[in-house]
Structure formats: structure tokens, C-alpha cells
């Protein structure tokens, strides 16, 4: 009760402002980011699940045992079914009716379980999103098919023996790219109409996909169960298998959010520590007075700890509320990209994380200085200069750093990340501390020749040498963390954008005959389409490596791969090394080489443990070809360009039948070009990847904006640290400026010297921060994010500039009060 009253009195007196707002901020940041990360994750999972139209997919060449589906039923999973195959469809029953080879997809009523279909009532009209699928007796068509087959909505389409009503066009399906390629225009129908078509017979080339959605636990339980039943021809798919590029991007984004959150906590922790330290410094006198009035140490501690707990509870509630607001704000800003229609599952976890953060922050940062209060000697009422026998600084910092470390680890669950950040912070502490101290001591000599404002500033810097060194450490720490985050953010976003830049090939052409190559090249060129080189392709099977069968070797070198390595491969040849490929072992052949050699892709080489010099035997048609591996190439499969596991020198595969393939970029407005194209080259297969790429892009945009927002939030906490740190030195400055002004110094002089002092500190701090940020980024990218490190010259410019301006302004704003208060008033307060 008494503690509550004291707390209220302290609050009223303005003693608690920064301390309370630091705790509120720490809680708000952590809660806000966790809430947001949770929600983002849910959104992303939902969106990425739409790549499969489900959470998991079981792929099979034949119908699976009904028992399997019953088991999924028992786990409470939602289910849907897809049957897909290539088939001719007809515009009428007559013999001369137009026909077209299409890709038919028959779906059950619950399809899609995740994501939405984009459909329209007109051929190229505006589309709407829906989770409905074609009802029995109806069919939805790729808009391209209507003009191609001279059909309109309302007409009939014949699929095998079944006559179906064309009721809608389907512009996009969530899982269009889910299994790689779609050959031919889409025909979407109800699976219940399949028997009527009379097409699907035992042994026909069809693919069954069983879709499942539901709770993560149930899914993984069922996944385990199904894997126990599966034949080699079955595949159990999740997002990672279908879109490794996206999955990796998302994982990094998540790590970034966690890192940002951890840094946010760290920054807020520093602010709390600073505020608590200032609070206790101001309270040494209070404690001395209370003790002289007869309060025991235990009593004093009860009062202050009670105070702290109360403050923490209040700050916690306020912080949680702010965290919620922050999250809402994020969602508001992101709603253009973000599917907020689905109500998120709000869990308690973010709030618990926020509360624990507050608790740890208090224990690690606020408690040590407060504990040192109890050691205050009551004699202080008589002798103010009495030193306080509190905890040593080293111990205080030690407790603080361990607190942050623990929190970061708990928060991110990632030891490497925690260590990297802590090492960066520790390094900053040591390097910056030592450096700053020496530098600040050296300012004395320069000061002698400087003008008055400068002289005052330099003198003040020197006088507060140690204090300033500590302050520069904190400044540079804050700036460093901000730079660090900015650096990682830009390299993440850059990498994502590099992965799929504007103009990424979005259509693949396969099955191009040799005689078509020239006219194909001409057609693409006259339509001014950006095209990749046209590569020849020979189908062949890798059979032996150095007298060992591939199946046997694979079971030894990569047992998890089962027989996935024992399949047909596309073999190609090239005179020159493809643009994005990098030789990591051996050498590319010299021009005109006719030797029996091959260049192999790195991952496959690793899985089979193949090095240059190894001999490989291929079975092409019925002939055997033995070649030596002379180089190993690294390449990026996510770039949507033709890529090959095996490249041969030109000439070596000449005697085998080859088809050609390429990829090109078709702007979305020119989609009708495909109709013209297919009329001219009816036998060429077009694989349309444009909607998949669009989807990937939208996810990347979302995640990038989230990353930017989090960065903004962290900058706010960085600023708070700066302000708290400036405030920490305010008391002594008040006194000094009052004395100076009493002695006749003008306001401008005093203010000028303060601004110069802070800006110089900021400049120094910024420079040192650039150094340690660069170092930490190197560590993080090299060991955690596994990205290539590049030097960032801008950091060395922005860091010091940012530091000088920001801290100069912070100093000016907070210290203006110092200068504007009449000296009498200041002197009276002390």
C-alpha cells in the first residue's frame, strides 16, 4: 500500500517516465513482433499451402486403398481428390468438330482445401476468387480455349464420352505450379463425371492427388502413418518439396523477424538499464533520507521491489495493449498484400513472451541498480559525496548481458544467432569503449586552439571522459544494431528480387522438333519476346558409375533418396558454359573438343559422390555411352531458366534423337500470343509458369514489407535508447549549464557546445558502429543466413552521419530544456 503510494508519487514527480516507457516498449515490441510473426506465419502458411491447394498432398499413379483415406478421416483431416491427365476435348460430336489436346483436372467438391480459384463468367473479363469447384455436369475452361475452339460460355464441351456444360472460365488455380508443369490449356471438371467420360481405364496415364488439410499435429501423425504404407511410386508432398525456393525465403524472413525481435529486446533492455540506473542514482539521496528517518535496508528494498513489481505489472499491461496495436497497424499497412480475410488464431504465446521479456529485462537490467540502493549509507544525508557501495559495474553489465542472451536464445531458439549478436555486442563494447576513451582523452590538446563553443564542448567531453566513453558505447551499440538490421534487410530483399527479377522467363517450350528451331526463333524474335538459348535435349538414363550400378551406389551414398536417382534425365549439350552456371570443380571443355566427357550438376554429383575423373555410363535408347566427368557446375534451379544435370560437348550426342527446349518471358497482356503460337506449332508443348511466378512474387512482396515494418519498429526502440542515454547525463549537465550561465555564458554558447558535444559523440559512435555492424553482418551471413558477404561502403558513410545528426538532434531536444530553465531554478533544485 505504502509502495503504491510512493510509486504514484514518483510517477507524478516524473521520475518514472523513461523507465516505464522503456519497459512498455520492450513488452510492446516483443509482443507486437511475436503476434505479427505468428500472424504472418499463419498467412504465409495459408498462402504457401495454396501452392498445393492443401497442407499436404499424397501423389499416386493409381487410386489408393480406401483404408488410407479412412485413416485421414480418423485424424480429423479435411480431404479432397484430384485426378489429372492429358486428353483431347471436342467442341461438338461431329467428326470435323474442332479438337484440342488439353490438360484435364477433375476435382472433388471440397477442392481447393487451401487457396482460391480465380474464375470469370466471360472469356477475358474481370475475375473473382472462389473456393467453389465445378459442379457435376459442368466444366470450367482456360480462357484461351474459347477463341481457340470457337466456343462460348453456355456451349457444350465433350470430354471423352461425357457432354459437359461450359459454365465459367478458370483464370488461375492455386496449385497450378504445385507439381511443376501444366501441359496444355486447362479443363477443370467434377471428378464425379469421370466415369461418364469413359477415358480413365486401369493402366491409363493419370495422376491421382489426395489433398489433406488440418492441424499440424494431425498432419504429421498421418504423414508418418502414410509413409509407412507408401510404395515407391507414391509421393508425400509438402511445400518444401514443391517450392524449395519459397520455403527457404520464408525461413529466412522468419529468422529475420526473430533476429529483429531479439535486437528490439536488446535495445529496450539497454533503455531499461539506463533508465533504472538514472532512477537509482537519483534515489540514493532518497534512500539515505528514508534511512535517517529510521527505515531498515529490508524496508527500503521492500519498498523499491514492490515499486518495481507494480510498475512492471502496469507497464506489462500497457505494453501488451501497445503490442496488439502495433500488430494491428502492421496488418493495416499490409492488407493490400496480405490475406486478412481469414481470422487468425490468436494464441497467448506472444503475450507470454512479452511478459517474460519484461520480467527478464527487469531482473537483468533494473534490479541490479535498484539492489545497489539498499547499500546506501544514511550518512549520505550529511556527506553527499559518499560513494555508493553497490554492485560493481562489471557484475551489473554481466547480469544484463546474460539476461539479453538468454532472452534472445529463448526468443529465437537459435544459438548461432544469439552468439553472433552477443559477440557483435561484446566486440562493440570492448573496441568502442577502449577507442572512445583514448580518443576523448586526446581532445584536450585540440581544444586549446578551438573557438569558444568548441572549446567548451571539448572540455566537457574530456571532463566526462569515462561517462562519455560509456555513452558512446551505448550510442554505437544502438546504431550498430540498426545498421546491422538494415544491412541484413537489404541483402535479404535484394536476394529475393534477384531470384525472380522482372522479365523472368515464365513460359517453357518443350518438344520442339529440330526442323522447327529456326522458325521458332524467328517467331519469338518478331514478337520481341525475351528468350533464353534453345537447348537440345536427349532423354537418357544414368546406369553406372565406375562399374557400379547407380541404384547400388545411390543406396550407399544417399539412402534417403530411395530410387529417385534412378530415372531418366534430360541430357543436353552446349559449346559454352550457360550464363548462370559456375564451375566449382574441373574445367569447361575447350572449343572443338570431341572427347567423351560430361559436365555434371553439383548437387547430383554430391548425392552420388562423384568427382571429376569418374566414369559414368548412360543408356540412351538402347545404346550405351561412357563418358568421363571433367567439370562440376553449380547452378540455381529457382531461376526459371532451362537447366540441366548433364551437359555434353557439342557433337557427342549427335546420333541420338533430340528435341529442343527453351523458355521465354511473355508479358501478362500478351497471353493471347499463345493461341497464335499453338496454331503455328501445334506439336510444341507450352508449360505456363506465369501464375506461379506471380504468386511467388506476391509472397516476397509481403514478406519484404513485413521486414521493412519491423525495421521501422526497431528504429523507434533505437531512438528510445538514444534519448534514455542522453537523459542519463542530463542531471550533471543541468548543473553545469546553470553554473556556466551564472558566470555569464550566453544561451547560444552553452547550447552550441552541447550540440557539438553530442554530434561529435554521435559521429564517433556511428563510425565505430559501422565497423562492428560490418563485422557482425559478415558473421551472420556467413554462418547463419548462408548468403554471400559483400562489403557495404555506404554503411561507413551513413553510420557516422546518421549518428552525428540523430544524436545531435536528440541532445539538442533534451538539453534545450536545460538551457531554457533559468539558472536560479536549476541551482535551487540541487
Amino acid at each position: 500500500m505504502f509502495a503504491l503510494r510512493l510509486l504514484w508519487r514518483d510517477w507524478r514527480g516524473g521520475e518514472l517516465g523513461i523507465l516505464a516507457s522503456s519497459i512498455v516498449l520492450a513488452v510492446a515490441i516483443v509482443t507486437g513482433i511475436s503476434l505479427f510473426a505468428d500472424r504472418l506465419q499463419q498467412g504465409i502458411v495459408a498462402q504457401s499451402s495454396s501452392f498445393l491447394a492443401a497442407d499436404r498432398v499424397l501423389q499416386s499413379p493409381a487410386p489408393v486403398d480406401n483404408l488410407w483415406l479412412q485413416q485421414a478421416e480418423r485424424e480429423g483431416l479435411q480431404q479432397a481428390e484430384i485426378l489429372s491427365f492429358q486428353s483431347m476435348v471436342y467442341a461438338g460430336e461431329e467428326v470435323d468438330a474442332t479438337m484440342q489436346l488439353t490438360s484435364v483436372k477433375a476435382v472433388s467438391n471440397h477442392y481447393p482445401l487451401r487457396g482460391q480459384l480465380e474464375v470469370s463468367d466471360e472469356a477475358f473479363g474481370s475475375s473473382i476468387k472462389t473456393t467453389a469447384s465445378p459442379p457435376r455436369g459442368e466444366v470450367w475452361l482456360d480462357p484461351r480455349l474459347l477463341p481457340l475452339m470457337n466456343l462460348e460460355i453456355g456451349d457444350a464441351l465433350y470430354v471423352g464420352e461425357a457432354k459437359l456444360l461450359i459454365s465459367k472460365v478458370v483464370v488461375n488455380e492455386p496449385d497450378r505450379g504445385g507439381n511443376g508443369f501444366v501441359l496444355g490449356a486447362r479443363v477443370l471438371m467434377n471428378i464425379a463425371d469421370i466415369p461418364a467420360t469413359d477415358i480413365v481405364q486401369p493402366g491409363s496415364l493419370v495422376e491421382y492427388r489426395y489433398l489433406f488439410a488440418g492441424e499440424a499435429d494431425a498432419l504429421s501423425r498421418y504423414g508418418e502413418w502414410v509413409k509407412g504404407q507408401m510404395q515407391p511410386s507414391h509421393k508425400w508432398l509438402n511445400l518444401k518439396d514443391t517450392q524449395p525456393g519459397i520455403s527457404q525465403s520464408l525461413q529466412r524472413a522468419e529468422q529475420f523477424l526473430l533476429l529483429a525481435g531479439a535486437l528490439g529486446v536488446g535495445l529496450a533492455g539497454i533503455a531499461i538499464a539506463l533508465a533504472a540506473r538514472r532512477y537509482s542514482e537519483r534515489h540514493y539521496d532518497y534512500v539515505a533520507i528514508m534511512k535517517s528517518l529510521g527505515a531498515t535496508s529490508a524496508r527500503v528494498m521492500r519498498i523499491y521491489i514492490g515499486n518495481l513489481l507494480l510498475l512492471a505489472t502496469i507497464a506489462l499491461l500497457v505494453g501488451c495493449a501497445f503490442g496488439w496495436l502495433i500488430q494491428e497497424m502492421f496488418i493495416l499497412i499490409l492488407q493490400d498484400y496480405f490475406d486478412v480475410t481469414s481470422t487468425p488464431e490468436i494464441t497467448l504465446r506472444p503475450f507470454i513472451i512479452g511478459s517474460v521479456t519484461a520480467l527478464v529485462c527487469l531482473l537483468a537490467f533494473a534490479l541490479p541498480p535498484l539492489l545497489s540502493l539498499q547499500g546506501t549509507s544514511p550518512l549520505r544525508v550529511l556527506r553527499r559525496d559518499l560513494p555508493n557501495s553497490g554492485l560493481g559495474n562489471v557484475l551489473t553489465y554481466g547480469i544484463g548481458v546474460s539476461g539479453i542472451g538468454l532472452l534472445m536464445f529463448w526468443y529465437s531458439g537459435n544459438l548461432t544467432l544469439t552468439m553472433a549478436v552477443l559477440a557483435g555486442v561484446g566486440l562493440t563494447f570492448v573496441i568502442v569503449g577502449v577507442f572512445a576513451w583514448y580518443l576523448l582523452r586526446g581532445t584536450a590538446r585540440v581544444g586549446m586552439q578551438a573557438g569558444s563553443s568548441w572549446r567548451l564542448a571539448l572540455a566537457s567531453m574530456r571532463r566526462r571522459g569515462f561517462q562519455n566513453a560509456v555513452q558512446s558505447v551505448i550510442f554505437s551499440l544502438a546504431i550498430m544494431l540498426l545498421l546491422l538490421l538494415a544491412l541484413i534487410r537489404s541483402s535479404l530483399i535484394e536476394e529475393w528480387q534477384v531470384q525472380l527479377p522482372e522479365g523472368t522467363p515464365n513460359h517453357f517450350l518443350v518438344n520442339v522438333a529440330k526442323h522447327e528451331v529456326t522458325s521458332l526463333r524467328t517467331l519469338l524474335a518478331t514478337n520481341q519476346l525475351e528468350t533464353e538459348p534453345i537447348y537440345p535435349m536427349v532423354r537418357g538414363r544414368l546406369t553406372r558409375v565406375n562399374d557400379e550400378t547407380v541404384a547400388k551406389r545411390a543406396s550407399r551414398t544417399d539412402p534417403t533418396a530411395q530410387n529417385s536417382l534412378d530415372r531418366e534425365l534430360s541430357l543436353s549439350w552446349s559449346k559454352t558454359l550457360p550464363n548462370d552456371n559456375i564451375i566449382v570443380e574441373g574445367e569447361w571443355w575447350s572449343e572443338g573438343s570431341t572427347a567423351a566427357e560430361v559436365s555434371m550438376e553439383k548437387n547430383l554429383a554430391q548425392r552420388l559422390q562423384i568427382n571429376t575423373g569418374d566414369k559414368m555410363e548412360f543408356l540412351i535408347g538402347s545404346e550405351r555411352l561412357v563418358v568421363t566427368v571433367t567439370s562440376i557446375r553449380e547452378l540455381d534451379w529457382d531461376t526459371m531458366k532451362p537447366n540441366f544435370y548433364m551437359l555434353f560437348p557439342p557433337g557427342l550426342l549427335n546420333q541420338y534423337p533430340a528435341t529442343y527446349m527453351t523458355s521465354f518471358y511473355l508479358p501478362s497482356g500478351q497471353k493471347h500470343f499463345l493461341n497464335q503460337f499453338l496454331r503455328e506449332f501445334p506439336t510444341i508443348t507450352v508449360i505456363e509458369m506465369d501464375s506461379v511466378i506471380k504468386q511467388i512474387r506476391s509472397i516476397i512482396t509481403q514478406v519484404s514489407s513485413a521486414v521493412e515494418l519491423v525495421l521501422g519498429l526497431i528504429i523507434v526502440s533505437g531512438l528510445l535508447v538514444l534519448i534514455a542515454s542522453v537523459q542519463a547525463s542530463l542531471d550533471s549537465r543541468y548543473q553545469e549549464s546553470a553554473v556556466l550561465r551564472t558566470l555569464g555564458a550566453k544561451r547560444e554558447l552553452v547550447l552550441g557546445s552541447l550540440v557539438i558535444e553530442f554530434s561529435s559523440l554521435g559521429l564517433l559512435a556511428g563510425f565505430l558502429a559501422a565497423f562492428s555492424a560490418e563485422l557482425s553482418v559478415y558473421g551472420l551471413q556467413e554462418y547463419l543466413l548462408r548468403m554471400d558477404y559483400v562489403f557495404h561502403p555506404w554503411v561507413w558513410l551513413v553510420g557516422p552521419l546518421f549518428g552525428a545528426i540523430l544524436i545531435g538532434i536528440a541532445g539538442y531536444v533534451t538539453c534545450r530544456k536545460v538551457v531554457n530553465t533559468p539558472p536560479v531554478e536549476v541551482l535551487r533544485e540541487i
Binding site: M290, L293, L379, L382
Partner: protein, 235 residues
């Protein structure tokens, strides 16, 4: 009431150890008013701190109302202070974040005594600040602040009141007012008063004054029963 025997105080400084008080013997009777005078640095404040139990001597013993405070821990001494002692300081030592009234309530609140508020209001009225209850220290003049400090000191109803240069930060007129008030209250409450000052005028108003020089008592004289004239008339 207070009995100090052969007390010595030595502090360690960067230039070696410094002996501030050298073998002080002092007995103060109940209800007595004692002034400690001496030049600056002679050890007055140090002695006061020791007598009040804010610090312990290096040697010797001090009994306060029959209890040997030199053998007590700091917390036990705090309890003794809470029960017996009141303070007035040169620099007032009010808590800046508390109002005048709250400052005066503080000792009672710390003791957990009921009716802290009524008591505080009574003493604030007694020192003539009934209209300044809710003002903060910085809104009060030095003299007013010291009067709040006086109210606080007496609100704890101490047996012994220690004052370290209570007028040191005040001009003569205000100082005299505060001192008049101090003596008046002291007479009403019947407390023992130990007062550090370097003003002879002030020392003369005490029944007894001792002089410290270089950490030793060089004079101990009993004043003639002083004529306590109401100060308000004089100034």
C-alpha cells in the same frame, strides 16, 4: 540520554588514513540543548552523525537512551533512529517528488503508524504552512523548506533532535525565524537537542556548547539560562 566514551573516527583517503575525531567523551542529559561549534572541517558533522547512529566510530562506544548503538547493525540502528531520533539538515533533505504534506508524513508512514496524515497536518500548521500542503519542495522558499523539515522532524515525535547547521543555507532573518521555531517546538515537545552551528549567536541560545578543533573538544561551557525572546518581534 546520550553517552559517548572515547570515540575515535578515522577515514581512509587517497593520502593515507585521516583521523577526524580523537578520543571524544561526551554526555548529554535528557532535555538538554547542546550546541557543537568549531571551525570548518573540525569534525562537527562527523560527530553528529556518530551520535545520531548514522555511522559507527572506529573506537569507543555510544549509548543512546540506554542502548549501546556501537554494537548494533545498521538495520538495528535504523530502528533506534525511527523510535528516538529526528533530523534537521543544512540542505533540508526533502524528497523532491513528494509534496510538503507527504514529506512530513514520511516518517510515520515508514513506521507504519496510523493517522500519519492528521499528525503531519498538525505540524505543518504549527510551522505556519497550512496553505502549502500540496506544494513541492522546489515551489517553496528555502525558509519554507526548512520549516517543512522541522515539521517532519517533530512529526516523528523524537526524543532527541539532531540539527546540522539548520540555518546554513538561509539568510539571517529567515534563519532566525527557523531557529525560533526550532527552540519553541523543542520546548513544547521536551526533546533533547543537539545542534551543529558555527554561529555564536545560535550557540548562545543553547544551555551548553562544546567547541571542536581538529577533532578534539577544546571547550565545554554551560551558558547562563538563556533569555529566549520571541524572534518575530526582534526582526
Amino acid at each position: 540520554m546520550i553517552n559517548a566514551q572515547n570515540i575515535e573516527k578515522t577515514v581512509a583517503t587517497s593520502e593515507g588514513s585521516l583521523c577526524i575525531l580523537k578520543g571524544i567523551d561526551l554526555e548529554i542529559k535528557q532535555g538538554e540543548t547542546l550546541a557543537i561549534v568549531g571551525s570548518s572541517g573540525s569534525g562537527k558533522s562527523t560527530l553528529l552523525g556518530l551520535l545520531a547512529g548514522l555511522d559507527v566510530p572506529g573506537k569507543g562506544s555510544i549509548t543512546l537512551a540506554g542502548r549501546d548503538i556501537t554494537s548494533l547493525t545498521e538495520d538495528e540502528r535504523a530502528t533506534v533512529r525511527a523510535d528516538l531520533v529526528g533530523f534537521v539538515f543544512q540542505s533540508f533533505q526533502l524528497l523532491p517528488s513528494l509534496t510538503a504534506l507527504e514529506n512530513v508524513m514520511l516518517p510515520a508512514e515508514l513506521k507504519g503508524v496510523a493517522g500519519a496524515r492528521g499528525l503531519a497536518e498538525k505540524y505543518l500548521q504549527r510551522v505556519g504552512l497550512d496553505h502549502r500542503f500540496n506544494h513541492y519542495p522546489k515551489q517553496l522558499s528555502g525558509g519554507e523548506q526548512q520549516r517543512v523539515a522541522l515539521a517532519r522532524a517533530f512529526a516523528s515525535q523524537p526524543h532527541i533532535l539532531f540539527a546540522d547547521e539548520p540555518t546554513g543555507n538561509l539568510d539571517t532573518a529567515t534563519g532566525t525565524q527557523v531557529i525560533d521555531l526550532l527552540f519553541e517546538l523543542n520546548r513544547e515537545e521536551g526533546a533533547t537537542l543537539v545542534l551543529v552551528t558555527h554561529e555564536q549567536r545560535l550557540a548562545d541560545r543553547c544551555q551548553r556548547s562544546i567547541q571542536l578543533e581538529g577533532g578534539e573538544i577544546v571547550a565545554d561551557k554551560r551558558n547562563k539560562p538563556s533569555v529566549v525572546v520571541s524572534a518575530s518581534g526582534q526582526n
